[in-house]
């Protein structure tokens, strides 16, 4: 029975649509970031937050969270010291507090994690994230 359930899960992921895959990717990035505090996620993307809620503890406000995922540039000043991951490459520049991004560029999805920011926030990336680490925004 377990085997059947596992195969079913496998099939679901293989046939997943682009939204589901995007949630999987972000979830995977989170899994591979070892943070000093337990992750409590907040996002201004409601669907993403709902989806991540299946695997992580989530919060409806940024103040109660420890890890923030943003698609827009508006964020309360009190939350800007938290771990921030953005869904738009330009936000990496306009929001200097952010430590990484998942974004589209020229029709392709990309992931970038900034090494100095991870160090500053005492976050350890797993070996799987090594190809996505960069020293600066370029």
């Amino acid at each position: 029975m377990k085997l059947l359930a596992m195969l079913l899960l496998y099939a679901i992921v293989l046939s997943a649509d682009s939204k589901t895959l995007m949630y999987e990717i972000i979830s995977n990035v989170l899994d591979n970031l070892e943070t000093p505090k337990n992750k409590i996620i907040y996002s201004d993307d409601e669907n993403l937050l709902k989806n991540l809620g299946k695997h992580y503890k989530t919060s409806q406000t940024c103040q109660e969270s420890t890890f923030i995922i943003l698609q827009k540039s508006t964020l309360e000043a009190a939350c800007k010291s938290k771990d921030i991951f953005v869904l738009n490459y330009d936000l990496l520049s306009t929001m200097p507090e952010s430590l990484g991004a998942f974004f589209f560029q020229k029709g392709r999805a990309n992931i970038v994690l900034l090494k100095p920011k991870l160090k500053q926030h005492h976050i350890k990336p797993s070996s799987e994230l090594l190809p996505y680490l960069e020293d600066k925004i370029w």
């Binding site: 596992m6 895959l21 990717i25 995977n28 589209f104 020229k106 029709g107």
Partner: protein
């Protein structure tokens, strides 16, 4: 314990080192071609956005050079053209070219490639090429190949880019693209480009034969999600006429412009409306050192003319979709018009050079049914009836085409079989207006073809796929030139040919892959390369993309019994990402200088002039995202 091991193994497959896999799958899922590709519509070649970027395909001609079973070659009239392998040089091959849903017309000569091959691809996301078995659902008159260019989707771009290109022949190209989502429902795409291309001049008896051109292109698209789509395209340019009239030009200017408007609207009850309008104008100013003999036997040292063609079409289509069946019914009206404002020789009174129909009204009804027998097996039937009237013939022309198809598709194996007929109508150039050398013939009938084609592809493993295609065709009423009367005629004898192609694709990893393909046409008489192949190698090392391409075309003997050597067109393209916003590129075309050649001037007693479609050149470019 077994279950735990299996679970662990599965999790490793799913999540172990799987961010790359997830990203790849995500990129594949979001590629738009997955939504437009029609497996049952023919034998498909998809050139993805990623491939186009790494190939550094600046113009459509860069892609045409790689297509199996077709020869991309120099042409005395247009500079370059594409024709079916084995065909005589200069033969019109009815290739149909679309930008999204708009068919780019070439009403006079029936070959849009001569005109649009130089079009830049900066605004194009990916290309689908349908060979044989072409579905009637595209709504066009039948053609031997359908090329569909799909433009970039604003929601995946959301940026402004610019690219500047310069080559070793001092050609320059500037492209600007802006694509944005305005709010949740509206988006636009704007592209402007200017291309000034210099080609190697042919020095013949101290006369320069030039095929240089300068062309500007504008494209604007505005979309409302799930509602309508408006597109405006315009091109204006100037071109040297190469060897169109003679080999002693003193002045050889062709100026042309065209503009089109396409509106697609989703109506209630799952009905789609597609409206299209286009106007094209060309003027020629030619002066010769000696004389050019026209088809009405007038000797001209100076030729000036201005021609205009226009097209207006409307398509209504409706899908009836059930769990197992997709039935599409459609109707189409298309008006094609052509006119000559003036045609003067030796600066005298205008001549009447139109000898056939110039107004065509085409009324079509067509439909296609796709029936899924089960998850793996699909059958399809397509029917199209055209009723064509013109302003010359008293009786209308009708044509009826059918297509039967079977597609088997499983995880590792795909098999396709199509049986169909095709009727290629003569062009306005062949029927009404052909000023030099070959007389038009208003009584020409369509070329009729019966074709059986099949294709199989098999995934050997996760990273390797092999394919094989076979076809047989019986062709009647081929349009050819009768050398005794120098006029277009329908050939009485029928022609048969078989063709075969095979290919293999292997991905080493996410960024590195190789594709090899080979084809051969079996035909009694062959006047251009009957076989050919291509090797494409895509590599990425860090921030560097490297692309290697070798296009092979076999040796052949032309219609004047002259032997031509095999062609080897080698391209190397290297791109380096300076930053997320900036890339520099360098590309070498025809680097071995051994690409396949054709004679643009041939004489059995003398040495002719043979040229390749692409010059040897190195191109450098810089791309920046603002």
């Amino acid at each position: 314990m077994k279950h735990i091991l299996l679970l662990a193994l599965s999790i490793i497959t799913l999540y172990g080192s799987n961010l790359d896999n997830l990203l790849t799958k995500y990129n594949q899922e979001t590629q738009i071609h997955k939504q437009t590709k029609k497996e049952a519509a023919g034998h498909i070649i998809v050139i993805t956005r990623d491939d186009l970027d790494r190939m550094q395909a600046y113009t459509l001609n860069d892609v045409l050079n790689t297509i199996r079973m077709f020869n991309f070659q120099a042409s005395r009239n247009a500079g370059t053209s594409i024709s079916f392998a084995t065909a005589k040089s200069g033969t019109v091959t009815p290739v149909k070219l679309f930008i999204n849903n708009h068919e780019l017309n070439n009403i006079t000569f029936g070959n849009p490639i001569a005109q649009y091959g130089a079009m830049n691809l900066y605004f194009v996301d990916y290309i689908e090429i349908y060979q044989a078995g072409n579905s009637v659902t595209f709504g066009n008159e039948s053609g031997s190949m359908i090329i569909r260019l799909y433009t970039k989707k604003p929601k995946y771009e959301n940026a402004t880019y610019g690219e500047f290109t310069i080559d070793t022949r001092t050609s320059t190209q500037l492209n600007i693209l802006d694509a944005k989502v305005i709010d949740k429902n509206y988006s636009y795409l704007l592209n402007v480009d200017i291309n000034n291309k210099n080609m190697k001049k042919i020095d013949y008896q101290n006369y320069n034969l030039s095929r240089d051109y300068a062309i500007g292109h504008f494209f604007f698209q505005f979309n409302k999600k799930n509602d309508y789509h408006i597109e405006i395209g315009a091109t204006k340019g100037k071109k040297d006429l190469f060897a169109s009239f003679s080999l002693h030009p003193l002045k050889d200017d062709l100026e042309g412009e065209n503009i089109y408007l396409q509106i697609d609207k989703k109506l209630p009850y799952n009905i789609n409306l597609k409206l299209s309008s286009s106007v094209e104008q060309n003027s020629v100013d030619y002066q010769d050192m000696s004389i050019v003999t026209l088809t009405n036997d007038i000797n001209a040292s100076n030729i000036k003319f201005h021609g205009k063609t226009s097209s207006l079409s409307a398509i209504l289509e409706k899908h009836f979709i059930t769990k197992k069946n997709d039935l599409m019914l459609a109707t189409k009206i298309k008006y094609n018009r052509g006119s000559l404002s003036y045609f003067t020789v030796n600066n005298s009174m205008p001549l009447d050079m139109i000898h056939g129909p110039t107004k065509f009204n085409i009324y079509s009804i067509y439909g296609e049914d796709l029936y899924n027998i089960n998850d793996n097996n699909l059958i399809t039937i397509g029917l199209k009836y055209d009723y064509i009237t013109d302003n010359y013939k008293t009786k209308p022309t009708t044509s009826f085409i059918y297509r039967l198809g079977y597609v088997y598709n499983s995880k590792s194996f795909t098999n396709k079989l199509f049986i169909f007929n095709r009727m290629n109508q003569p062009t306005m150039g062949q029927m009404s207006f052909s000023p030099v050398k070959v007389k038009p013939n208003a009584e020409l009938g369509p070329v009729k073809m019966d074709i059986v084609s099949g294709e199989s592809s098999y995934k050997l493993n996760k990273s390797t796929k092999v394919g094989l295609g076979l076809a047989y065709a019986h062709v009647k009423d081929i349009i050819t030139v009768n050398p005794l009367i120098m006029q277009f005629v329908n050939k009485k004898e029928s022609v048969e040919f078989e063709r075969f192609y095979c290919n293999i694709k292997h991905s080493f990893d996410l960024y590195n892959k190789i594709a090899i393909s080979y084809y051969k046409i079996y035909k009694q008489h062959s006047f251009s390369p009957a076989s050919g192949g291509i090797i494409q190698i895509f590599n990425t090392i860090g921030k560097i993309d490297i692309y290697n391409e070798l296009v092979y075309r076999a040796s052949y003997t032309n219609e004047l019994k002259k032997s031509m050597q095999a062609g080897y067109d080698y391209t190397l393209a290297i791109g380096y990402k300076l930053s997320r916003h900036s890339t520099i590129k360098i590309k070498g075309e025809n680097l071995l200088n051994k690409a396949s050649k054709v004679y643009i001037y041939d004489d059995p007693k003398k040495e002719g002039i043979s040229v390749a479609a692409r010059d040897q050149r190195v191109i450098m470019s810089w791309e920046y995202e603002f």
